[in-house]
């Protein structure tokens, strides 16, 4: 194996790489793009280090402002005050908007943001625009993200004094493969190559695995398996993961994610303080945007203060004669956001159930993300997991990016003489992947929480006599019917031999490889025959480029159930 190292050094492919010394391979940086804040970290040869911007900040606001024609992001953060971010010229929350259609409730909730989010409610991309010189100028979440990533990359290159290409990005658990594709595209636009896209809590799990391994070394302990539940709630998303860790290997047992986050807490409270908020702000006039910004900042401050105080006075003059003056108690805040907290509870319970574990089996409960400071969130965790204390070994705002940086070093093939990088993450699928069959039902083939790489198959059969073709609609998600899930792509199998319904066997297999690439194989199998009647199909997913369900609807309108399939198991039971 030693020879291989020399091969790399003399590899002609690397000679084109400019300033980096070939003896020191590039270490992929870890990036955590939060809905509200963002950070970058890298393995510096002995430990993970967070990079600071010119203002000496480790955590930078995730936004891009289009004020003076030239877009500028929150990495340099030249804003005089937070209100400037809320003037309509800045786009933020892009992680909540990316890859979503205008019928999505998350998009609808974004309509009360200071910049323009217009929906036509037909299942297409929402219209998003920033206020530039009193004009709404359109943009897309991917474009905003790419601009932001360009700034991040420039900052990292200045700090590290070498070009940066490879990155490990953290992503929410609930992101579909279509959204992952858009993230990869935004990275490509920014000249970055994605080595890994890690669900956020799995990055935290890797950091935990490293910490456990270090303490096992120090105590000369046996390094026995430890189960940790990781709860990560930021501004945009809430994720749960359960990991089984021993000897630096983090095995992801179960994942659960949803789109509830601090933004929901904020908006619910804003509505509580100003019930007719949506009507007042719907036209997005200059004065209205200003009032909206004032309310947003005041509400945000109140939530932060409620983490330590039992009540907080709110006094804000929104202009136009609207004044809000009240004392807000923690109880009222929790009551207003009851549904959000219930969703968090359900998510934790679902994850425990999926991992086939009881609360007592969990050794450590880790709470990270911006919402981890909220007392109610901590109470939920301690009560469901039946314990007094939560894990205190990591900084809640830095855990994900630190984990991503560790993965970046591991994936770049870096080794550490002290064994701090002897780490491995065994990932699991956050969402089920399957096809539509048995009418409009979603039939999972690779189920949620399946260890990857994975390969699964299922046999289907025809619904009509002499059915010559079958439509394979590939979906991702965990809802009952196909159309409630994310459409990843579709294709047709042809040349099914003329046989009574239920006789032909159609095999659909799915394969997630080492690079998390999904391939779908499908075709007709002929019992007894030497040759297959037609070649198999191999389709790399996702193939859809729009993210909306229009194509599925159009297919249904054109073909109805004429090209349908049913599962074979169901058939034999009847």
């Amino acid at each position: 194996m030693a020879e291989q190292a020399y091969t790399v050094a003399s590899d002609s492919e690397t000679t084109g790489e400019e300033k980096t010394s070939p003896a020191f391979p590039e270490i992929a940086i870890g990036i955590d793009i939060g809905t509200s804040q963002c950070s970058v970290a890298v393995w510096n040869g002995s430990q993970v280090e967070l990079l600071r911007n010119t203002r000496n900040q480790k955590l930078m606001k995730s936004y891009v402002t289009f004020k003076d024609e030239v877009p500028a992001g929150g990495v340099s953060d030249e804003l005089a005050h937070e209100y400037d971010m809320l003037s309509g010229a800045a786009i933020f929350n892009m992680k909540r908007l990316i890859g979503r259609v205008d019928t999505d409730p998350v998009v609808h909730a974004s309509k009360s943001l200071p910049f323009l989010v217009q929906t036509l409610d037909i299942g297409v991309r929402p219209f998003i625009a920033a206020l530039v010189n009193s004009m709404w100028r359109s943009t897309t979440p991917e474009e905003v993200l790419a601009i932001f990533l360009v700034e991040l990359r420039a900052m990292a290159e200045v700090k590290l004094k070498h070009p940066v290409r490879n990155v490990v990005l953290t992503i929410p658990v609930s992101f579909s493969r279509f959204q992952l594709m858009l993230i990869e595209r935004a990275c490509a636009m920014a000249g970055l190559h994605v080595l890994r896209l890690m669900p956020e809590p799995t990055a935290v799990a890797l950091l935990y695995a490293q910490q456990q391994q270090q303490s096992a070394h120090e105590n000369m302990g046996s390094g026995s398996e430890k189960i940790a539940l990781i709860f990560n709630m930021g501004a945009g998303y809430c994720d749960v993961a359960i990991t089984a860790t021993s000897g630096g290997v983090s095995q992801i047992k179960a994942l659960a994610g949803s789109t509830v986050g601090g933004e929901d807490l904020l908006q619910n409270l804003m509505h509580q303080l100003l019930p007719n908020m949506d009507d007042l702000f719907s036209s997005h006039g200059i004065e209205e945007i200003k009032s909206m910004g004032l309310l947003r900042v005041a509400t945000q401050d109140a939530i932060h203060k409620l983490s330590s105080d039992m009540s907080v006075p709110i006094d804000v003059d929104l202009g136009n004669g609207t004044k809000i003056s009240k004392v807000l108690g923690r109880v009222e805040f929790e009551e207003v956001n009851k549904e959000v907290f219930e969703k968090c509870e359900a998510l934790i319970k679902r994850c425990l159930h999926a991992a086939k574990l009881e609360a007592e089996d969990v050794h450590d409960v880790i709470v990270v993300g911006g919402c981890s400071y909220i007392p109610k969130v901590r109470n939920i965790l301690t009560s469901i997991c039946k314990r007094e204390e939560l894990y205190s070994g990591m900084n809640p705002l830095e855990a994900a990016v630190r984990g991503a940086a560790l993965e970046g070093a591991v994936a770049s093939g870096i080794s550490d003489p002290f064994g701090n990088l002897d780490l491995l993450t065994i990932q699991a699928t956050p969402l089920s992947i399957g096809i539509q069959a048995d009418g409009s039902n979603f039939i999972p083939i690779i189920r949620q929480n399946t260890t990857t790489p994975a390969r699964k198959e299922q046999i289907f059969t025809t619904v009509h006599d002499n059915q010559a073709e079958a439509l394979i609609l590939v979906y991702e998600g965990d809802e009952k019917t196909g159309e409630e899930n994310h459409l990843l792509g579709f294709f047709k199998i042809r040349g099914i031999p003329p046989l009574p319904k239920g006789v032909p066997e159609i095999n659909v297999s799915m394969d997630i490889d080492a690079c998390n690439v999904l391939r779908v194989f499908a075709g007709v199998m002929m019992p007894g025959a030497q040759n297959l009647p037609t070649p198999f199909m191999e389709v790399r997913m996702p193939t859809v480029d729009d993210g909306h369900g229009w194509s599925a609807q159009a297919l249904h309108k054109t073909y109805g159930s004429t090209l349908g399939l049913v599962t074979v198991q169901k058939k034999t039971q009847h």
Binding site: P25, G413, T451, R455, D513, Q569
Partner: protein, 202 residues
């Protein structure tokens, strides 16, 4: 494991072992305007760190046997049939460190991926008491072949055993998959050319 490999062209090969399947046309990226570069260089770096982590027992090397279809799950994990849950878990983690594609030698990723999936299957069956009992019962009856077992435990128990044609088809399909993955992992001529172009223009 969440890395990107968009934009690679599959070169049609003439040396397919299974002429049953036609050679693949080049797969066209749905986004030809965006180039997703792939850097194999980092993966080619020697991973000395894992040499020390190799499973110590030679038993585990059973996995580098010849015919996977004649190996029991116990042999696959390198543990005795009386092995405890703890032993199963430890063997699994050790083998994961060895065969997980993230840590495997770059030129053997697809082979190790296959092995990892088999190890995973063995672990999932044996770490579940109910499935392990079923597997043990079948083993006593002599039907202990890993691949038959997989079908029995993962799908409905009532599912009928398939004949020889199915096995043949299976092996063809997995060979096909193996090949297509292999092509993506290596860097094709097309990908190399595009990368060079990209570099020249940037």
């Amino acid at each position: 494991m969440w890395c990107n490999s968009h934009g690679l062209i599959i070169i049609p090969r003439s040396d397919l072992r299974f002429p049953l399947f036609p050679t693949h046309p080049p797969s066209i990226s749905p986004y030809p305007h965006i180039y997703f570069p792939k850097y194999p260089s980092n993966h080619q770096i020697l991973r000395t760190k894992f040499t020390s982590l190799k499973p110590k027992s030679n038993l585990n090397d059973v996995v580098s046997y010849t015919d996977p279809n004649n190996t029991t799950f116990y042999e696959l994990l390198g543990i005795p049939e009386t092995g405890s849950l703890l032993e199963i878990k430890q063997a699994y983690k050790q083998l994961a460190r060895k065969y997980h594609p993230d840590v495997s030698p770059p030129d053997r990723v697809e082979e190790y991926t296959e092995r990892f999936i088999r190890v995973q299957e063995a672990y999932e069956t044996l770490s579940d008491p109910r499935m392990r009992a079923m597997y043990d019962r079948d083993m006593a009856k002599g039907i202990h072949l890993a691949f038959i077992a997989r079908r029995r435990y993962q799908n409905d128990e009532s599912m009928v055993e398939k004949g020889e044609w199915k096995n043949r088809w299976q092996s063809q399909l997995s060979e096909l998959k193996r090949k297509s993955m292999h092509k993506d992992n290596g860097m094709s001529w097309g990908a190399r050319m595009r990368r060079q172009r990209n570099k020249a223009s940037s």
